[in-house]
Symmetry: C2
Subunit: 419 residues, 2 copies
């Protein structure tokens, strides 16, 4: 039995992320049919698949594009031409003062968080220790384990507003929001994974203000947001300034196999990420950058996001929400207002079994979901609420989603009947 | 001015790898013409580019292959079908007892070394500290900075055998090879980057024996080796056993934009890498795995490597070597026997300027090489030899290589004349 280093022990522990990716890999490898309501695999939208295929064929028809995509190492911050075009799109659409020097690509969005969290928090040269503050939990499972040291996250409980239609919405608890000297950065996902929440413009303004006052950056995880893939069902405005680190992804466009994340930040942060890219992985993939270049340069990526992706998910989430209300009728349940992302977040107040037990019972019936308890990274205090929720992905085929939701309802009702 | 964490300070230092990738990115982005004899970009071989383009077109014609490549997250260890086919190829060709469970993909070979070095060395749970032993320097620049803590590498000086034809060859100094309890693993590149050395079968057997005796793995960095890309000009046999960690790359096939590394190791190591993949990057790219699948499954990858890649580089290295002898005639120089990889390693005994000064003088003349001093990671003792060598990549266009070598000769002669 090999003995790992401390780093090795930390990064080979059983984690929610590994469980999630194992479940996802098993389900998608197609060994046996399951209702895959677990991972965050984007939907297969035929119109987009055709579009991306055509873009890729066009790349193959050009020797210089082929080489840019496959045959040459890019610069440490990632493929230069794409970064330039993306900066121009941000400047054009939103008036942001950015150039290619404000953009770095990473080997997927998760790799970007590994780099950013460990750059901005953890042990400091002066012997102190800084943490990343997650001001609104529930928050993304992937943040949990990326710190090279334990204890790098701290988090706040949200406010909860309940509505008459069995929906609810988490909010920023402004009254308890304090940012001490032990905080290296704040981080929120918007739209939020796992809840589908979209923090309001006012909430983001509050976060920007407290971060600036403390002189630390605000990281906004925009993997599902604007301008692409724009899986957002409310009206909010994208924001960026020199103190905001905006993280984006190509995955939710339907391209998770590329592993390309995008970070928009101050030149200083970008230069640091470029250095880290060199040492950690020599270079980051260019496939996505070259594949999407023309769509970004022309601005077509905005139309695609607005006219294809957003309506597709809007229709899917509406259907899934209806099935939830139908199936769970008669049970005590709540569902978070689905304002964006690929998920429904279900809350079963006072359910007699833990959400993790519910996960296992559902898995035994070939329905994969994620137990809500994974989504409170950095929140140390006891809170029964976190064992009462599950995340349900609605992006896979409708039949699976409908069937899965029906089975979830059966198991929840059975659990309540055991009380 | 932002303050980084200790991790941040360590991974944003100026490094040889960052300098190399900056140089490479600048040169390839084509802002102005330079003789790019610096980085390790593989050659553009038209026959291969056509082949890979056709493979990619075939993927796009299949909905299931398209989705496997671009639209689905793979398992934590990487795309399953490719790993199975590659294991079958190893079993068929070399008789190795491996399955898909012995293979993990990483986000490029460098990312694999980050994971492996930090898994096997660094601070241990019992308070001790382990290091990676590089038994034959010069050794790959990329190993230098991947440790999350300083001091994670230690190295041995090589033996040097000189030949009548101005060539020389480094060897394993078996007499000084001891592996103490502070060593977590041994690592060698074979073919060696930067020297083009290929350790003999006997040398590898010695390393396997001492590693096994100490109960630590031997990492063999096979980025240029067999079965692909097979940029090897001598007769050696590839070896693997449960105590060997063999690392491979798709980059030197001509596909560095993919960022896909391959690790063949015990199931225990592979499972650890899969966990690390999940946490560090959620998943690794599938593009290369699906692109190369048919070539690996059919075994055509072996013919391509043997009949296209190997002869191509053999012809290129012969030409470059001839230009070196022509241009440097009359100067005191040595060149390492080029037995594999993309590089000529030139040694100028007693040259009055450092190799780093020579690098800067050449850069000022638009010839990019790498100073040899970067290639002694972990070697702490003084040794003038390490400031007397440069690495020259011969894989770019012939005209650049010929012209670059001529300018190198001019600058070396000028340096000697300053003494």
């Amino acid at each position: 039995m090999a003995k790992w280093s401390k780093f090795g022990e930390r990064f080979t522990r059983p984690t929610g992320a590994r469980q999630l990716m194992d479940d996802l890999g098993d389900a998608l490898s197609g060994d046996h049919p399951v209702c895959m309501l677990g991972g965050g695999n984007p939907a297969h939208i035929p119109e987009l698949e055709e579009l991306f295929s055509n873009e890729l064929r066009r790349v193959l028809d050009s020797e210089s594009d082929y080489r840019r995509m496959l045959a040459n190492y890019p610069s440490p911050a990632g493929e230069e031409r794409f970064r330039t075009s993306l900066a121009e799109l941000f400047a054009r659409e939103y008036g942001w003062q950015v150039t290619a020097k404000n953009i770095a690509l990473t080997s997927g969005s998760q790799a970007g968080f590994f780099q950013l969290f460990n750059l901005l928090a953890g042990p400091q040269a002066d012997g102190s220790f800084k943490r990343i503050l997650l001001p609104v939990t529930p928050e993304y499972i992937g943040y949990q384990d990326v710190g090279i040291r334990a204890g790098m996250l701290t988090a706040l409980k949200p406010t909860i507003e309940e509505f008459d239609d069995r929906t609810f919405k988490y909010g920023l608890d402004v009254d308890n929001l304090t940012v001490g000297d032990d905080i290296g950065a704040l981080c929120v996902s918007r739209p939020t994974n796992p809840t589908g929440n979209v923090l309001s413009d006012a909430e983001i303004d509050s976060l920007i203000a407290v971060a600036s006052a403390q002189g630390v950056p605000l990281i906004i995880d925009n993997a599902y947001g604007m301008p692409f893939p724009n899986i957002v069902f409310t009206e909010v405005k994208p924001v960026w300034n020199d103190n905001v680190i905006m993280c984006m992804s190509m995955s939710k466009l339907g391209l998770p196999g590329l592993r390309t994340g995008v970070v928009v930040a101050s030149e200083e942060i970008i230069d640091a990420l470029a250095s880290m890219n060199s040492v950690l992985s020599l270079a980051v993939p260019s496939v996505g950058a070259v594949l999407l270049h023309e769509l970004v340069e022309s601005g077509r990526i905005l139309e695609i996001s607005k006219n294809i992706i957003q309506p597709y998910y809007q229709q899917r989430v509406n259907a899934a929400l209806e099935w939830v209300h139908e199936s769970l009728s008669g049970t005590d349940y709540r569902v978070h207002r689905p304002e964006g992302a690929l998920f429904l977040w279900l809350w079963f107040p006072e359910i007699p079994i833990s959400s993790n037990e519910l996960y296992h019972r559902l898995k035994a019936r070939d329905v994969l979901v994620l137990s809500g308890h994974h989504f409170f990274p950095g929140l140390d205090e006891e809170w029964q609420h976190r064992d009462e929720c599950i995340r349900v992905t609605y992006s896979q085929d409708s039949e699976s989603v409908r069937k899965g939701i029906a089975i979830i309802a059966e198991e929840v009702k059975r659990a309540f009947s055991e009380a």
